[in-house]
């Protein structure tokens, strides 16, 4: 099923192959990611650093290469996260919508089957996610939210490492063409 080559940039959108997933995968995997985020840290506090919903949104975005689908998935996942947090509805929603859209856009241009690319994308989209959330909370809600650059960079790296493994697992859920 591997169709990646040594090139990172695709010369055209046609060159990139669109991955397809069954509907239940797109419904269940984000739900499990959200459940992981809200349930597992009860017993393993350190796992609260993982932003699995973000990684899942990003994965489906870059693999399906469908901007509208990706931004809608991001919006739904983000709103679900907002619902399970004290935030007003929309903060995570907007951030994840943007992540979905931009990830799908990037996915059209890059060979996202390469591990390095995936890791870099996870790293940058985690940073983007945190930065956008910080901006929105400050700008829209007028609240002070701590943004520690060093800590965020480390967390981005950790999430990127986890993201690569997670993507490898999610690859197995792709429909075979």
């Amino acid at each position: 099923m591997s169709y990646s080559n040594s090139r990172i940039l695709l010369s055209s959108q046609r060159e990139g192959q669109v991955s397809r997933f069954r509907a239940w995968v797109i419904a269940v995997v984000p739900l499990l990611a959200i459940l992981f985020q809200v349930y597992v840290p009860l017993f393993f506090q350190f796992l609260s650093i993982l932003e699995l919903p973000l990684l899942v949104v990003m994965y489906f975005a870059i693999m399906r290469r469908n901007q509208i689908g990706a931004l809608l998935l991001g919006a739904v996942v983000g709103l679900a996260q907002d619902s399970l947090s004290k935030n007003p509805l929309g903060i995570f929603g907007i951030v994840n919508t943007l992540v979905g859209y931009f990830a799908a856009s990037v996915g059209m241009r890059l060979d996202v089957d390469q591990g390095v690319i995936r890791m870099l994308l996870s790293f940058f989209f985690y940073l983007f996610h945190q930065l956008m959330r910080w901006v929105l909370v400050r700008a829209l809600l007028g609240q002070e939210l701590a943004f520690e650059v060093q800590k965020t960079l480390i967390l981005a790296l950790l999430n990127a490492v986890v993201g690569v493994s997670l993507f490898h697992f999610l690859d197995k859920l792709r429909e075979r063409s």
Partner: protein, 409 residues
């Protein structure tokens, strides 16, 4: 126009979705009440799964482990090793069960001792987002939970119900920066406002500089906020810095100190007095409830405090009954500890009460507090029928108000 929309379809949808969510944020921020249906859907979708996971966690994992172990029993050595492992697992499982039962008992004891009406709840998940300071409990509107209810444990206050859904409720913890509650210091009655800081330490704001507050002082709820009834422990002062016009007081909340699993949600809060006795940091033993058919009061050991204190007083009484002076000649005679003073029901009596000599034929056993009374008609008042782990948990669950009872009354 149509061609334009087709060409920029993605960006148009993006802008529409962002705009819709901006309206959601604006409505939520302005009215503090956003589209509740979306939250209800999300919580209703996630909380049953979390509940199932929580239910399956104890039994399921234990069963799976034992099952795997049985299949690994191929030879004698492995069988024995596995059996040993199984017993250890059983032990852990039973300890967990005892701990769970004890937490339930502690909550039940607390419920009987406080005038407020409460509903016990279990924490099933945390709020979304890293470093989340809110949790979800398994009780919702169907259990009578409403927004704004106080959440406590026998140790102290935990948080406030931020939102109630049919199957679950969201609790804002005391450590959340949005949390605030009226508090009062036990010693000097200095009033202030407890605020979360997003860390494990909270601060008490608006305490004037002239009010005296010291490290180690206890803060209780003042009842001013009309959420928490007065008299519930809040926390211990960790640091005080003089500042103008208000002091900077850091408080360690006691409600979260031992972790969170089971909590009480106060459905009908009743104010209670703030204890005047000094609070101890050590967990205090909660005495078991008095027997229904009371035994003679002379059987009650007057040794107060921990089991070690009681044991010490018993040995002291043995020495006194044999005219032995503790701390005397190191090379001298030692008391005969086989002749323990035994009461009418065959139990070792308390120390400071003069004990009769052992009855002829009576077994001179060292009566630990866990022993059962040989006379069922007179259950021992001094005994605690629980195993040590349970006792420890009870001690930890007990309010630190002293042996006379918790301070919540």
């Amino acid at each position: 126009m149509e061609g334009f929309l087709n060409r920029y379809r993605s960006i148009t949808v993006l802008l529409l979705v962002i705009f819709a969510q901006l309206i959601l944020v604006a409505v939520g921020a302005k009215t503090k009440q956003d589209v509740r249906l979306i939250r209800v859907w999300s919580v209703s979708a996630v909380s049953p799964v979390a509940r199932l996971l929580e239910g399956a966690r104890g039994g399921g994992i234990g069963f799976l482990r034992r099952y795997v172990m049985l299949h690994d029993a191929e030879n004698e050595n492995r069988r024995l090793r596995d059996e040993n492992g199984k017993l250890k697992l059983d032990n852990i499982f039973l300890k967990n069960e005892l701990g769970r039962a004890d937490r339930a008992r502690a909550l039940e004891l607390f419920q009987t001792k406080t005038a407020s009406k409460a509903v016990a709840a279990t924490i099933i998940m945390m709020g979304a987002g890293s470093n989340s300071m809110e949790v979800f409990v398994d009780r919702g509107t169907t259990s009578g939970i409403m927004r704004g209810m106080a959440v406590v444990t026998p140790d102290g206050i935990v948080g406030i119900v931020r939102a109630a859904y049919p199957t679950a409720s969201e609790v804002l913890l005391v450590t959340d920066p949005d949390f605030a509650a009226g508090v009062i210091s036990q010693k000097t009655q200095a009033r202030g406002t407890l605020k979360g800081e997003g860390t494990t330490i909270c601060k008490v704001d608006y305490v004037p500089t002239e009010d005296k507050v010291e490290v180690g002082d206890w803060f209780f709820t003042s009842g001013d906020d009309r959420v928490f009834p007065s008299g519930f422990p809040v926390g211990i002062v960790k640091s005080v810095r003089a500042s103008q016009p208000f002091q900077e007081i850091a408080v360690e909340p006691v409600g979260l100190k031992r972790g969170l699993e089971d909590v009480l949600i106060l459905t009908e809060a009743v104010h209670q007095d703030i204890p005047t006795a000094p609070m101890g940091n050590q967990p205090i033993y909660i005495a078991p409830p008095p027997p229904l058919s009371g035994g003679p009061l002379t059987e009650v050991p007057t040794g107060t405090g921990t089991e070690a204190d009681k044991l010490r007083s018993i040995y002291k009484s043995v020495g006194e009954s044999q005219s032995f002076t503790y701390g005397g000649d190191p090379g001298g005679r030692t008391p005969d500890f086989t002749k323990m003073p035994v009461g009418a029901n065959g139990q070792v009596t308390g120390a400071t009460k003069p004990a009769p000599p052992p009855a002829p034929g009576a077994s001179p056993t060292l009566g630990t507090p866990g022993q059962a009374s040989p006379n069922p008609a007179t259950p021992p008042v001094s005994t605690n029928p629980q195993p040590p782990t349970v006792r420890r948990s009870n001690q930890s669950a007990g309010a630190p108000g002293g042996p006379g009872g918790p301070p919540h009354q």
